[in-house]
C-alpha cells in the first residue's frame, strides 16, 4: 500500500535505565489520496505515530514503509506540521511560506507567483509582512499549512492542527481545508482528539487506545460530502465512537 506500518513499537528513553512505552505492536496501512484521522485521548501515542511516518522518530521495533520503501528519515515529500506549527519566528508570513520553495529548483519569478498564489489561497493577503508573534492562532496554522502545502508534498501529516482554535474558526478552517484538498492529489493524515472533527473530515478513522499505544478500531466513514454535523447518521456514529472511549476507560 501507500503507507505501511508493520508491527511498530516505540519506547522513549527517560533517564538512564528507564523507558516509556509509547506504541507497541501497531500495524496499519493507508492508501493513496485518503484522508485519515488518528483519534485518541491524550498520551496514547498519536503524535509518536505521526512522527514515525514523518521520519522524525525511528521505531524501536517493526518497520515503516512509504511507497514500499523503508522510511529512514525526514523528507520533503512527507510534509509534517507540528502541533504548535513551528513557524520560524524571525521570518515574516511571506518568508515562512517561501522557506521551502527556496530549496526547490524552480525559477525565481515562478516562486514569487507561487507564494502569491498560496497567500491568496490561505487568506493571508494583508498579513504577509507580519511576524509569527503578531499572528492569531488561526493565521499561524494557515501559514504553517501553506508553507508545507506549496511544496506539493505527496503526504501531509498534521498534528492536531485545529486544537488551538475556537469552534467557529475550527469549522471554517475545516471547510477551507477540505476545499483545498479537493483539487489536489495528496494523502492526508491528521491527529485529533475531537470525535466530531474526525467524522467530518475523514475517509477513515483510526481509534487508538493508551498504555500501550495501539489501534482499538478502524472505522470507515462513507457519508457523502459535504457532511452535516447534525444529520442522524453523523450523530449515531459520534455516539458509537464516544461509547468506545467510555467503555474502555471505565
Amino acid at each position: 500500500m501507500y503507507i505501511d506500518l508493520v508491527r511498530i513499537g516505540k519506547n522513549y528513553c527517560v533517564g538512564k535505565h528507564k523507558s516509556r512505552n509509547a506504541i507497541s505492536n501497531l500495524s496499519l496501512s493507508i492508501s493513496e489520496n485518503e484522508i485519515v484521522t488518528v483519534l485518541g485521548q491524550s498520551g496514547c501515542g498519536k503524535s509518536t505515530l505521526l512522527k514515525i511516518i514523518a521520519g522524525i522518530e525511528k521505531p524501536d521495533a517493526g518497520q515503516a514503509y512509504f511507497r514500499g520503501q523503508p522510511i529512514t528519515g525526514i523528507a520533503m515529500e512527507r510534509g509534517y506540521i507540528y502541533q504548535d506549527y513551528s513557524l520560524f519566528p524571525w521570518l515574516t508570513v511571506r518568508q515562512n511560506i517561501g522557506f521551502g520553495l527556496r530549496n526547490k529548483n524552480i525559477p525565481k519569478h515562478q516562486k514569487k507567483v507561487l507564494i502569491e498564489e498560496y497567500l491568496e489561497k490561505f487568506g493571508l493577503k494583508g498579513a504577509e509582512q507580519l511576524y509569527p508573534r503578531q499572528l492569531s492562532g488561526g493565521m499561524k496554522q494557515r501559514t504553517a499549512i501553506a508553507r508545507s502545502f506549496c511544496l506539493k508534498p505527496d503526504l501531509l501529516l498534521l498534528d492536531e492542527p485545529f486544537s488551538a482554535l475556537d469552534m467557529m474558526n475550527r469549522h471554517k478552517l475545516q471547510d477551507e481545508l477540505l476545499e483545498i484538498l479537493k483539487g489536489e492529489k495528496i494523502t492526508y493524515v491528521m491527529v485529533t482528539h475531537d470525535i466530531e472533527e474526525a467524522i467530518y473530515l475523514s475517509d477513515r478513522i483510526i481509534v487508538m487506545t493508551p498504555s500501550p499505544g495501539a489501534i482499538q478500531a478502524i472505522i470507515p466513514v462513507s457519508m457523502p460530502r459535504p457532511r452535516t454535523r447534525t444529520s442522524s447518521e453523523f450523530l449515531t456514529m459520534r455516539e458509537e465512537i464516544a461509547d468506545m472511549f467510555y467503555s474502555k476507560s471505565i
Binding site: M76, D84, S86, W90, F99, G100, Y131
Partner: protein, 277 residues
Amino acid sequence: MGRSKAIVTTLGTLTVQRQGKHTFTRGNMKSTLNKMIAVMSLIGLWYTLVTLNVMWPFQFGNLPGPDTVFRVWFKLLGDLSYYDNITVSSIRVLAGIMIGLVTAVPLGLIIGLSAKTSDIVFTNLEIFRPIPLIAYLPVAMLLFKTIEASIVFITFTGAFFPILINVVQATKRVPVQLVQTAYNLGCKPHKLILRVYLPAIGPDIFTGLSVGTGASWMGVITGEMMSGQTGIGYSTWQAYQLLDYSQSMIGMFSIGLLGFVFTRCVRFTEKIAIRWL
C-alpha cells in the same frame, strides 16, 4: 512600524504605536524634566562640596569644581588632540569587537553543536575565562610586537568571551523542532547554520555584544593607562600624574560618554537587525 512600545508614565502604562514621528505624552515630558532636575542637583552638590572644601568622609576638597571642569572641557572641544585620543581608543575597541565577533560566533556555533569540540576547545577556554582582562596584559605584551596590538588583544578578549558564552548557550537552546521543520522543508544540512541557527541565536549574539562592548571599553582604558602612549585612558592617567585634575575628570566623563555611545550603537543595530522580537 507595527512595533508597539510600552511607555511607563506617571499616569500608568501606555502602549504607543510607533509611527515614525515622536509621540509626546504629558508623562513623558514630566519624566524628562525630572531627569534634568536630578542631573542638575548632582552638579550642584558637587559644586557645593568643592567650594565648601569638604574633607570628610571623602576629600571632596581635592577635586576641581564643575565650573572649572566644564570651562576646561569646553576649551578642549576646540583642541584636535582631544579627538585624536578619543578616535584612537574607539578604533582599538572597534577592532577588538569586530575580531571578537568574527571569531566568537563561528566558534560558539561549533561548540554548541558538537559535544566533542565542546570538550576539547571549551574546556581550555573555560580556564582563561575567569582571568580579569588586565591580567592578560603582561602576556599580551610578550606575545605581540607592538603595544597597539597588545591593547587590541585586550579589547578583543573583552568582547570575545561574553559573545562566545552567549552563542554557545543559545545554539544549544535552538529548538530541535525548528531544525526538523527546516529539514522537512528541504533545507540542506550545510545551509542549516545560515538559515536556522544564525537567525535563531541573533538576539543572543547582541546580548553578548552589549556585555562585550562594556568589557572591551574597560580593557582599553586600563591597557592604555598601564602601557599606552595614546588614547583617552592614557591621557586621563597622564593628566592625573601631571596634577592636571580637571583634565583627569574630563577624561573620566569622556570615557563614560563613549561607553554610553557605543552601547547605544549596539542597541540601535540590534533594533534594525532583530525586527521580529
